[in-house]
Symmetry: C2
Subunit: 335 residues, 2 copies
């Protein structure tokens, strides 16, 4: 009998899905960033759950306040990718007996901070005893059905863009966990990428309003994985010719003799949005997002051919479907 | 610095609540069975999260299929107490590496079974690696605002009633965990109370329709605790003169020299509804619930005096505010 280490997270999810009866007319299919039910009046209630586990999701150097905030923010990021304002969250806690009253206070403050940063509130939850620290959040929001952004609408010749550069989180993790050196003045940026992630909520909301986005996903499993997910859901491929490597990740790669392309593509927990947009609506879309202070980066095009190709100055190759996966990998093992 | 063992689950929740900013006009206050947001059109989206942790919530003898089903059913029970039909659930899993493919299949099947028994579907979730088995569920339903049942409306002279007798779960646990003997023909009933709990959903839905219920709660923390919660939220007391002891619990207590009153009052995970009803609407309410096959048991009255009094044939005494609490107690320690 196979152990779950052999299976890996994605195969485990496939196995479970086999046994779940499907709700008729699901507004968002299984496996998307969030789920939804039709509440009538042309609206959907969109909700999402994502669990933070101390031993895999809280690196050395992250405080309990930061961990609790992150547990909330990672759920908000998924609603952001759907273009949905989170209204309320529930948090279900598993707490090791070793925690102190001060620890509990930090968890309460961190969860509240994560929610309030994005205009949401924590309405309730559940507290349990567990061996690991567990912070499982659920986020709920309401959206007009026609504004919901899905993964499945990317069309050949659409532009693919991201809400920011990639690679800082993986570089920051390597600095935290492996003690790799960083350039002066760059350390805080890299560590903040790990310890204080931000959901692209205002960008997601404005993108939904443009109605120009044909597919959208958050990049919590890494850029490569996000592209593969859109490709699978939309039945298309990508030609990427402008890899959005963060300059800090590039510098970090240089001084540590790492491959910057790997840092950019195969990391995780970046929380940038990866979107596709019809070419004729690109300028309008770009301008809309600039109004909330963010510059969309055009990284390539959607192709009819199903492969995901990266063209750099030196060569052309396929982007592999890999990234952060529980059970199978340890963080940073991909770079 | 106090450890969380000294604090106990309820104090931990109080500490966390101090740091959570309150959403204005919350339709259901903190600490109720479920939470809600106003979605307009006179309706609320009601949602709930509750986590099952292997080491505290899965007794010896409970299969993974049963554990996964229970994780879903305990969330549905909370929506039942509010009079809300659950539509969809999300499940967030923490899985120990020791699990096999067959174990994962059992978890998938059990979760699906729990949801489908009550007309709900599992729409998605999240899978993680954890030391303990963790099944954290969130349930979502929509209800007309005026039909929502709260904890806070019990009035002096209201009748207090329950949807079934108490004590079987604690007796079943003692049989499972401590090997205490049961009478022939009774074992299955007691074990089923532990292994195959049922949410009183059809009862909760019909009770909400009557609009006669002034307060409602599920009894997952035990009958005594549930009465204290309604008393606190409604600012009243109770005079209980008909303790709803299950005949199987009474027999079990007799042959094991246990106190049946303790089994009935201070257990947990019974999933019966505890409700209060205006006296003039009692007959109508009782008849409505009988139509779905369940006999409400009148156990006493709401009093203006804040204490919770039990009158038995032999004596009169106060029902204490205790029941199952994580960190502080071990299951069954109360009897």
């Amino acid at each position: 009998m196979k152990s779950i280490e052999d299976l890996g997270e994605r195969r485990i999810i496939e196995i479970i899905l086999q046994y779940l009866e499907k709700m008729p007319n699901m507004p968002i299919p299984f496996g998307d960033d969030a789920s939804a039910i039709d509440i009538g009046y042309g609206k959907l209630a969109v909700f999402k759950t994502d669990m933070l586990v101390g031993k895999t999701d809280v690196p050395k150097g992250m405080s309990l306040w930061q961990a609790a905030r992150k547990a909330v923010v990672m759920n908000i990021s998924d609603l952001a990718a759907k273009g949905v304002q989170p209204i309320a969250l529930l948090t279900s806690l598993g707490l090791p007996r070793s925690l102190t009253k001060r620890d509990i206070e930090q968890i309460g403050k961190g969860m509240n901070a994560g929610a309030r940063e994005y205009g949401a509130y924590i309405l309730g939850g559940d507290t349990n005893e567990a061996t690991d620290l567990i912070i499982s959040c659920s986020a709920l929001g309401i959206v007009k059905r026609h504004l919901l952004m899905r993964r499945s609408g990317a069309k050949p010749s659409d532009i693919v863009a991201v809400s920011g550069p990639f690679g800082k989180t993986t570089a920051g993790l390597k600095s935290l966990l492996e003690g790799l050196p960083t350039l002066t003045g760059m350390k805080k940026t890299l560590l903040d990428a790990v310890l204080m992630p931000h959901a692209r909520l205002k960008e997601g909301l404005i993108l939904a309003q443009t109605q120009a986005v044909t597919a959208s996903i958050d990049s919590s499993d890494g850029l490569a994985w996000s592209l593969h997910e859109i490709a699978k859901a939309s039945n298309i491929g990508f030609f990427i010719d402008n890899l959005p490597i963060a300059k800090e990740a590039e510098e970090f790669a240089k001084i540590n003799n790492l491959n910057p392309t790997e840092l950019c593509l195969y990391g995780g927990e970046e929380y940038e949005l990866v979107i596709t947009v019809a070419p004729k609506l690109w300028e309008k879309t770009k301008n809309s997002v600039e109004k909330v202070g963010t510059k969309l980066i055009k990284i390539g095009k959607v192709t009819k051919e199903k492969s995901i190709i990266l063209k750099t100055e030196k060569k052309i190759f396929q982007i592999e479907p890999r990234g952060w996966e529980h059970f199978k990998m340890t963080r940073g093992a991909t770079s």
